[in-house]
């Protein structure tokens, strides 16, 4: 199926990174096509977050190659990743707790007026606009993020990732703190972004949700890639088996 779609949006080839003695990611290769959602699955500490942090510029990989639309790129820091239209929702959310939602949403990309001064009013207005779409219940625009609930904070992080017209979206457990209604809204958002031809890496522990939202799933164990499968061709039990046993059932290898 992959061949029919031309060049992948993102190719992660043979990525390795170690922390001290721990080989957190070991020779992992995954790709991502436009309009596709690839799920990353694995036990705690499997290396999922570390892998995507190499793409988002938070870490520098030891070995490997990243290609975007077929071109090899160097991503040394988060600024490089942003310049390639890669946006990330981190597992830790990466919010400055002392600032309000608008300041966090625009952090590093503030709207400025003619004098080069940050335009808080314009940023708040934009934030109200996008939050109205993502989470209409959200009202605390003038409180520091530390005063928000876990789910509200997550909404802010999601808003930040989708506001800037990303082409590649990385979501590290984006719904971990969300209630059922808000989770449903994120699912709808992912579908909508798919239709807009974004490529999305989605890390999620909820296998049911991965089956629903993703096109393919990559399973990792102890830093290594177990396999990549088309979710339509596997059962939830098959995925669970891959995560726990670390083996792709032979008839399923994609």
């Amino acid at each position: 199926m992959a061949d029919a779609r031309g060049t992948p949006l993102v190719e992660l080839n043979n990525i390795s990174i170690a922390f001290g003695g721990i080989q957190a990611v070991d020779d992992v290769s995954v790709d991502l096509y436009p309009g596709e959602v690839v799920g990353l699955l694995g036990h705690n500490g499997a290396g999922k977050s570390t892998l995507i942090k190499c793409l988002s510029g938070a870490y520098r990989m030891d070995k490997g190659e990243i290609r975007i639309k077929g071109q090899p790129v160097t991503i040394n820091n988060p600024r490089d990743a942003r310049s390639h239209h890669i946006e990330t929702i981190y597992q830790t959310l990466a919010l400055a707790d002392n600032l309000d939602a608008a300041a966090n949403l625009f952090l590093g990309r503030e709207l400025v007026n003619a004098l080069g001064m940050v335009d808080d009013a314009a940023m708040e207005a934009e934030t109200r606009r996008i939050m109205g779409r993502l989470n209409p219940n959200f009202k605390k625009f003038n409180a520091p993020v530390s005063a928000l609930s876990g789910g509200q904070r997550q909404s802010v992080a999601i808003a930040r990732a989708v506001y800037f017209n990303a082409q590649i979206l990385i979501m590290d457990e984006p719904t971990a703190a969300l209630g059922p209604q808000e989770t449903q809204m994120v699912a709808e958002l992912i579908d909508e972004l798919k239709r807009q031809n974004l490529g999305i890496f989605l890390i999620d522990h909820d296998i049911h949700q991965v089956k629903q939202l993703c096109d393919r799933a990559a399973v990792m164990k102890n830093g290594q890639l177990v396999g990549v499968v088309n979710v339509d061709e596997v059962s939830e039990d098959d995925l669970l088996g891959m995560i726990i046993l670390g083996k792709t059932p032979e008839h399923l290898a994609a």
Partner: protein
């Protein structure tokens, strides 16, 4: 995540302070200052709150207050600077040597009008360079700021000593001395003009922020509340100018001035000192630093980095370079304080700025800057410096011995921080 409703029913009646949208922390600090002032006024039989003493208090506060605004940025980014007093001494030594020795002779004659300005420019450059160097050690070599500036505390104090061979350098240039306080004031008329302009600027700012809010359909406070705030600000500024203008130049000083010009003092002639240039400098620093903190990207990144360094880094902020900038700003402000401090003395002395690092840190902390980072205001630091100076001069006027003064100031610092912790716990921020 059921959104907590903003509880409109529970609080149907907004109290006065809420309607005015005045920062309660600011109110608390002004309250503390007023209490200190009133207590000393009683203890000194009314000598504390005279125009003359208020004038002296403001010029004594300037040097520490200027540095305290920079210390806010340092502490907000989770660093500390123990070297500011020593850095002030080095900058002061450089400026004193430039105007009395290094530039004089071959290049320019003593008393040349360009001398003070070249000296100031040189001192500011040295301050920025040393500050940036500290920032580089902290940001890029990741040596803790506490260690870097503890080293700086010893190094720069003694570099200053070497530059001057341990001698007192003076008298400094007369134009230079105008930055010190009493020897450089605007006089009555110009003080009123400056006060008037400041009031207009403040009112314009209020009006603009209201208009911006309305244009984005954000809620605004009622017009009467806006008017009350405007009246308080205008009254505060003009009242301050009025007090300074009430401090009249003593008759014998005037007589001497007239004699120097070959004239005779007319009968009944009086003149007031008015706004000191050093205080004007502090106000300018306060305005610029507040704008930087609240309206520029640099300021936004400083607070973001203090709140969550990892998040700032992941948002593409170059936090290392930011550290260099923050320390460079501190160095610049130390140099500026060096101008004021040495000009006030009219000479450079070896012990200039000694223990200022503690006064500056105390001012910032009393002013509500949290050592855990991410929180702090410029006006708070300046008020903190003013409160500290009031305590110190007040006790001196009452005749408290120096050791007791230090005991009280130390205790006040600890109590102030405790009160701040209680305040934060209650307001939840």
């Amino acid at each position: 995540m059921a959104e907590s409703t903003q509880a409109p029913a529970a609080a149907p009646r907004r109290n006065l302070i809420q309607s005015l949208e005045i920062d309660t922390r600011l109110l608390g600090m002004i309250g503390a200052f007023i209490i200190v002032a009133l207590v000393f006024n009683v203890l000194t039989d009314g000598r504390f709150l005279t125009p003359r003493n208020i004038f002296n208090l403001t010029i004594q506060t300037v040097s520490v207050a200027i540095m305290a605004t920079g210390m806010v940025f340092i502490i907000v980014t989770r660093h500390i600077d123990l070297s500011v007093g020593s850095l002030l001494a080095t900058c002061s030594a450089v400026m004193a040597m430039l105007q009395t020795d290094w530039l004089v002779g071959g290049l320019l004659p003593l008393g040349h009008p360009a001398l003070p300005w070249l000296a100031i420019a040189g001192g500011l450059c040295v301050g920025v360079a040393i500050g940036a160097f500290h920032g580089w050690l902290v940001g890029y070599l990741t040596i803790p700021a506490f260690i870097v500036t503890l080293g700086g505390l010893l190094v720069w104090r003694n570099v200053a000593w070497f530059l001057t061979n341990g001698q007192t350098i003076g008298p400094l240039d007369e134009t230079f001395q105008a930055f010190g306080g009493i020897s450089g004031t605007l006089g009555e008329q110009w003080s009123w003009i400056v006060g008037g302009l400041a009031t207009l600027a403040a009112l314009w700012g209020l009006w603009r922020s209201r208009r911006t809010k309305i244009s984005h359909d954000f809620p605004v406070k009622p017009l009467w509340a806006e008017a009350v705030v405007a009246a308080i600000i205008a009254g505060g500024i003009m009242g301050f100018i009025w007090i300074l203008n009430s401090y009249e130049i003593p008759g014998r000083v005037l007589e001497r001035e007239f004699e120097a010009r070959g004239e005779v003092l007319p009968e009944g002639f009086t003149a007031a000192y008015g706004l000191p240039i050093s205080v004007l400098l502090l106000i300018a620093v306060a305005v610029v630093m507040t704008v930087v903190a609240q309206r520029t990207r640099l300021g936004r990144y400083i607070f973001a980095t203090g709140g969550n360094p990892d998040a700032a880094e992941l948002s593409g902020i170059n936090t290392r370079l930011l550290t260099v900038k923050v320390f460079a700003v501190m160095g610049f402000l130390c140099a500026l304080s060096a101008v004021v401090a040495s000009a006030r003395l009219s000479f450079h002395s070896n012990d200039i700025g000694t223990l200022d690092e503690l006064r500056v840190i105390a001012a910032a902390v009393i002013g509500g800057t949290a050592l855990s980072g991410g929180v702090g205001t410029i006006y708070g630091a300046i008020l903190g410096a003013l409160i500290m100076q009031s305590l110190q001069s007040g006790m001196a006027m009452v005749g408290v011995d120096a050791p007791y003064q230090n005991i009280v100031v130390g205790a006040v610092l600890v109590v102030a921080v405790f009160v701040d912790i209680l305040y934060r716990r209650r307001t939840g921020d």
